[in-house]
């Protein structure tokens, strides 16, 4: 079924038809085809579903649904369901049955249960830590603790069919904006909702739009920042892959509000699936006339284009992104003038993050008060986080602002893997910091995180346990920012580089007591002096770990010890002769032949040869557990690590 949508009334009619058509599917199997589940092997599962459903003679083409035919069943690939840890994931709708870790060979059993026996495959259900199974998605603690607004449709619709988006009120908000509101009124609603930019800094979206609207000139642009570069973060990618139309609709509303006709989506080079989905979504939307020329007959034009980045983290910074879009090196520049006044090709340009734009349609649809009712007064709405690291339930989550870190880590996240001890949570990626256990009750929003020395960032949240060395984490992020610094301003180019060298020394056991004060002093000067957000926030990981985990730095410097047993140059591997049963496995696997030993003689690691890869520890059978890591000084005062 296809029709050109030439008026908002026609859209309402089409939505009705789509809703009715998809409602004719009695059972619907949604197989997650997000990057995480694809990596776990979800595509063969999807193919198997399609094959077996066709074999049963139940397959009904989507087109036939629109002819009024009833489909008993359908299988569709969907965007990310969020619970990547347990992939591949399959949802059975409308019941909401939630299967995890599904393999192709499980498909027959699932189909038989759902279609023939009206039962459930219990062994594939998610099990709580106490072993009790969760029947539906709503019972799984990972989901029940969430408030899904941006992610509402993620995993529920096929992102490659615009009609599914229509069936979920797609493009109704754009129609409402075009028909009922002037651009100024749209800005007024967004301002009143107090929506703040989800890219990290939390600037008020309405204010940005108003500045751009007021700026002189006829040519203006809207840019969607999809250059999600923080390591450990994949929120934007999941939204783009699972619900691309929501982003496009939000962009069109932004364009209408500020008076732009052209828009660009700057997508990270590493996201091929997101690009493909966006491309397809854009083509469909233009064909149906909800984007492009004379949208829905309302006289408004909007032409979005995709631009693929080429791998530069700094291009997530708005002025760098614009320089890159113009075809040059992605170097940031001083602000003001802000892009809203002077941006792409010197024209007023609004730049918004993916999640910010994806929130806009619902704000227009439901009103500013609806949005402001969730979250905190100063940071209303929800926040999307990629929850990863040493946590049981890794995945993509959406929570109301103001939720405590404890609720996220222990409620939704299910606690630390292997029931380890929580040490810190890292938010905001290379711009953020590490928050310790004392701050678990902290209510998460833009301002609270900043005053705690971290940042909301675009939403990476990495949980660390006792085996994570905080000095190493700080060093890791600096290594990243040094690599990604554009090299333009001295504080960032030379300052962060020097800080990294000091940290390298500390983690190698060559730190000096005065280094810590020096790091703090340098960090503060770099924050004050760097041109762009990358440099201004780069010292945060160091400053926040110095603030909350100073004793760990001191252990590295004074005792030449890494309490987390992580820093290679401060640790050594050893074999306990009383536990070693001389099975020879470690000796065989050791890549540098550092392990000596005969049959029946306990093995010994020759420290001068050891490359500290840890393979001996991995291979030593759990029942022996003879290999261990040591750090600091032995009883005789000699250092565990041998300086080689």
């Amino acid at each position: 079924m296809f029709a050109e949508i030439d008026s908002p009334a026609k859209l309402a009619k089409i939505s009705e038809i789509c809703r009715a058509a998809f409602a004719r599917q009695k059972t619907r199997f949604l197989i997650c085809a997000g990057t995480g589940c694809v990596a776990m092997g979800s595509l063969p599962v999807l193919a198997e579903f399609k094959r077996q459903i066709a074999e049963r003679g139940l397959a009904v083409d989507v087109e036939m649904l629109f002819e009024g035919r009833e489909a008993v069943t359908a299988a569709a690939g969907s965007g990310c369901h969020g619970f990547c840890e347990k992939g591949p994931l399959v949802r059975v709708e409308p019941q909401g049955i939630f299967y995890n870790k599904v393999k192709a060979e499980d498909v027959a059993e699932i189909l038989a249960a759902s279609l023939d026996q009206n039962s459930i495959v219990e062994r594939l259900l998610y099990k709580n830590p106490d072993g009790s199974p969760c029947l539906t998605v709503h019972e799984v603690p990972f989901y029940s603790g969430q408030t899904r607004n941006v992610l509402e449709r993620c995993g529920l619709i096929d992102p490659e069919d615009i009609r599914e988006y229509f069936a979920h009120d797609g493009y109704q908000a754009l129609a409402k904006a075009l028909r009922e509101y002037t651009p100024e009124q749209v800005i007024e609603i967004v301002s009143r909702s107090n929506l703040r930019g989800r890219g990290g800094a939390g600037f008020t979206t309405g204010k940005k739009w108003a500045t751009c609207r007021r700026a002189p000139g006829d040519t203006k642009y809207v840019v969607c920042n999809c250059d999600e570069g923080d390591p450990g973060a994949f929120m934007d990618r999941s939204v783009l892959e699972a619900d691309p139309h929501a982003v496009l609709e939000g962009m069109a509303i932004a364009a209408y509000a500020v008076g732009a006709e052209r828009g660009f989506l700057y997508v990270r080079a590493e996201y091929p699936l997101a690009v493909a989905r966006l491309q397809k979504a854009m083509e469909q939307a233009i064909k149906w006339k909800v984007l492009g020329e004379n949208i829905m007959g309302c006289g408004f034009n909007f032409y979005p284009e995709i631009f693929q980045g080429a791998g530069a983290f700094v291009c997530g910074e708005e002025t760098s992104l614009l320089a890159s879009l113009e075809g040059g090196r992605g170097m940031p520049r001083m602000k003001p003038p802000f892009p809203a006044e002077e941006g792409l090709w010197k024209r007023p340009t609004v730049l918004n993050n993916v999640k910010t734009l994806a929130k806009v349609p619902k704000i227009i649809d439901q009103g500013a008060d609806w949005f402001a009712a969730t979250g905190t007064v100063k940071s209303p709405g929800t926040a999307v986080f990629a929850l990863t690291g040493k946590i049981k339930n890794s995945g993509l989550i959406e929570v109301p602002m103001g939720i405590t870190l404890r609720e996220i880590v222990y409620g939704i996240g299910g606690g630390i893997i292997n029931d380890g001890k929580f040490k810190a949570v890292q938010t905001g990626g290379p711009s953020g910091g590490c928050l310790p256990e004392e701050l678990l009750e902290l209510e998460v929003d833009f301002d609270s995180l900043r005053s705690a020395g971290s940042m909301m960032g675009s939403g990476g949240m990495v949980v660390l346990d006792e085996k994570s060395c905080m000095v190493d984490i700080a060093r890791y992020f600096l290594e990243f920012t040094v690599h990604e610094s554009c090299g333009q301003c001295t504080p960032c180019r030379d300052g962060i580089w020097q800080m990294l060298h000091i940290l390298n020394d500390i983690t190698a056991g060559k730190g000096r007591p005065e280094d810590l004060a020096l790091l703090e002093e340098m960090g503060k000067s770099i924050i004050a002096g760097a041109i762009c957000g990358l440099g201004k926030t780069a010292p945060n990981p160091v400053l926040s770990t110095l603030r909350y985990f100073r004793p760990e730095y001191e252990a590295h410097i004074q005792d030449k010890a890494c309490p987390a047993l992580n820093c290679q140059e401060l640790i050594a591997y050893q074999i306990d002769p009383n536990k070693c049963k001389a099975c020879g496995r470690c000796r065989k696997e050791c890549p540098v032949e550092a392990i000596k030993g005969e049959k029946k003689t306990p093995h010994v690691i020759e420290q001068s040869k050891c490359c500290k890869c840890g393979i001996c520890l991995e291979t030593c059978p759990a029942k022996f557990s003879a290999v261990s890591k040591i750090t600091g000084k032995h009883g005789d005062g000699s250092l565990a690590s041998i300086d080689r």
Binding site: G229, P231, F234, A310, F313, G395, E618
Partner: protein, 167 residues
């Protein structure tokens, strides 16, 4: 390690025809520089010097500007690449779960530093910032295959399941 002589890219030579075919998809505007370079690299697997010179003429900018932009972005390569890409993810989640020891294991096994290409042009070894499969950390990507929950001792296994066998 086996030597695969056919691993040498067939599209090695930069000819007028090949470049014209690439340029036909563009208008010759300055802002198209990055998409053009991406298209050139797709064709040759790296950016040959002659190709960059022709790009400069096509969009009417100096060669240094093309080179300047190209070297700014980590996606672009300036020497011939190997046949298979091994990407060791060193994102935060992978880092805290031991990505470093996995990268070192690859370096040891392949006898090449990260960022390099093996002498037989079979493998490129790269450390990447994040491939977004954090829930499977630590992660390694060999061409399009993702290996999740990696361990240093499984590195040899990764290489043993030779990607050539699947091609």
């Amino acid at each position: 390690m086996e030597i695969f002589p056919e691993a040498v890219t067939e599209e090695k030579e930069v000819t007028e025809d090949k470049m014209a075919a690439i340029f036909s998809r563009f208008k010759g505007r300055r802002e198209e520089l990055i998409p053009i370079l991406q298209a050139v690299q797709e064709k040759f697997s790296y950016l040959p010097e002659e190709a960059m010179q022709q790009v400069a003429r096509f969009i009417s900018v100096s060669e240094s500007r093309v080179y300047g932009a190209a070297t700014f972005y980590s996606q672009f390569y300036f020497t011939q690449r190997g046949k298979h890409n091994i990407k060791v993810c060193c994102g935060t989640a992978c880092h805290v779960k031991g990505a470093k020891s996995i990268l070192e294991a690859f370096e040891r096994e392949l006898g090449v530093a990260s960022g390099g290409t093996t002498e037989d042009f079979k493998y490129n070894l790269e450390r990447v910032a994040c491939i977004g499969s954090c829930a499977l950390a630590p992660v390694v990507m060999v061409d399009d295959t993702v290996y999740g929950h990696m361990e240093a001792r499984r590195v040899t296994e990764c290489l043993k399941t030779d990607p050539d066998s699947k091609l």
